[in-house]
């Protein structure tokens, strides 16, 4: 009996050991952990992927869209001025309306300009397209609220635009909410100057092209080229208005961004005018330069000047000095 009970005890202990090991295996088996780890990895990967998308929305997608739309809106507004023959009273509201809806005073701007520029290319159109693409690609619901958009200049040859948006991205794992301010910059080179359109009743179109002449390198030959090519120049401490100010006929000095060109007398009527042919002076009725302060850029005595090609071209004293025109090429008008 004594032997039997001892044997039974041994089996009992063996069973206990096996049971404990089984429990140990069940509890610490990696399957459960791997599954959890896999789930965590999948969730983490999904969150990371959507997080990248949200960042891309702000830093890439809307930056590209804003840049393209800004260019199109400014181009449309230039054509709008060309079509109507009038300046825009409020550029900020007009720009915003064109950017967001493709309309001006609730009328599609393309129907006024007869050019298909803003059609399906507004910020609203692109917001919808991006949301749809995100739904298809990442299975997320994106809500984009366009709060406001503005255009301004801080450099003479560039236009900056700034867009404020609210972004909400909802997925099955998380939700992102963000207010973002996106900015983009476009060059004004190649765009038509609206100031020429209105003042010449659309007869004189001049595209902005930066002059390559350095401020201390001007001479009569370079002035001739400057006039021929219709190029623009930025002077330090300028009196001229910026490109955007030309949309609203705001002819005051812009310290950061004032640019000017010289008007070709062969392209205006009458060609002979008693005023400086610097664009912002010639067509500003409030800023007439007295004849006594004008110089004909010609000198019959020396044969200098540029009247052989640009007859009646005149400049005020300030510009004569800026462009380094010497008495050999200029005589007083009166």
């Amino acid at each position: 009996m004594g032997k039997m009970s001892l044997k039974k005890k041994g089996i009992f202990f063996t069973f206990i050991a096996i049971t404990i090991m089984t429990l140990f295996l069940i509890v610490f088996t990696p399957q459960a952990e791997i599954s959890l780890q896999k789930d965590m990895q999948a969730t983490s990967a999904r969150i990371s992927s959507i997080d990248n998308y949200v960042n891309d929305l702000e830093t890439r997608y809307f930056e590209t869209v804003l840049r393209a739309t800004t260019y199109k809106a400014i181009l449309s507004l230039t054509y709008y001025i060309n079509s109507t023959g009038f300046f825009i009273p409020n550029l900020d509201s007009a720009f915003s309306e064109v950017m967001l809806n493709g309309t001006i005073n609730n009328v599609p701007i393309d129907s006024i300009t007869n050019k298909k520029i803003m059609d399906n290319s507004t910020l609203t159109n692109w917001s919808s397209r991006i949301s749809e693409a995100a739904k298809d690609t990442l299975n997320v619901n994106t809500t984009i609220i366009l709060i406001n958009v503005t255009a301004f200049q801080t450099k003479p040859w560039d236009i900056d635009s700034m867009l404020k948006i609210n972004i909400t991205v909802k997925s099955n794992v998380a939700e992102w909410r963000k207010t973002a301010i996106i900015s983009a910059t476009i060059s004004i080179e190649g765009l038509h100057d609206p100031y020429y359109f209105v003042n010449t009743n659309k007869a004189y179109a001049n595209q902005v092209k930066k002059s390559s002449v350095e401020f201390d390198q001007w001479n009569i030959t370079k002035v001739r080229e400057h006039l021929r090519n219709g190029t623009y120049v930025y002077w330090q401490n300028p009196d001229a208005p910026s490109f955007l100010m030309r949309f609203t006929n705001t002819i005051t000095s812009s310290s950061c961004c004032g640019i000017e060109s010289l008007v070709n007398p062969n392209k205006i009527s009458p060609a002979d005018q008693i005023d400086s042919y610097a664009d912002y002076i010639l067509w500003d009725t409030t800023n007439n330069v007295p004849c006594s302060q004008l110089y004909n850029i010609t000198n019959p005595a020396t044969g200098g000047g540029i009247w052989d090609e640009f007859k009646y071209f005149k400049l005020d004293l300030g510009h004569t000095i800026k462009y380094n025109i010497t008495p050999q090429d200029a005589v007083k008008t009166c």
Binding site: K3, L6, K7, G10, F13, T14, A17, I18, M21, F24, L25, F28, T29, P30, Q31, I34, Q37, K38, Q41, A45, S49, N52, Y53, D56, Y61, T64, V65, R67, A68, T69, Y71, K72, L75, I117, S121, W126, R129, I130, A133, A134, D136, T137, L138, G190
Partner: protein, 177 residues
Amino acid sequence: MPLKKRGYFFVLDAVMGLMVLVIGVFLITSSYIDVPQPVQVELLSDDLLNFLSNTKIKDLNNQYTGIGGELWKQGEITEAENSLLQQIGEFYATNKPDTAEKFIQNVSKEIIPSQFRYEVWMDDAILYPKTPSAEHIKSKESTELLLTSKKITFGVINKTTSNLWGPYKSEVFLWER
């Protein structure tokens, strides 16, 4: 005799216990060994797509695709600020699938280890490889782990008019051979 038998019984018991322990430890450790592989593959597909979307043409030092390279001289690439993914999208938008395929092959050949196969799709159209081989298709169909990474892409198609192409769904599929 009974004493000898008892000793044998306990030795057997200890051996059985040890076996249980060894089998348990073996099962646990061997199960852990297989875990990291999916992570690697997943990182690779993300890596390739991130490389394509984060690298710009101007950043490439490549005789075929970089600035001054073959495609640049041919006028196929004109925007140095485009990301590689945008350039692929532009080739797709302008209906140049052959150029897109060569471009992808050229920029990605050093990125993906040779034991992996991959595909690049744009807007549900396969761009690389443009015409998958039977072996490629079979490999994709039989793989146990096919991973994908997706992004949206779009860009400017004409700088003069600022017209945009897209947005397209760009996708990378990657699996082990």
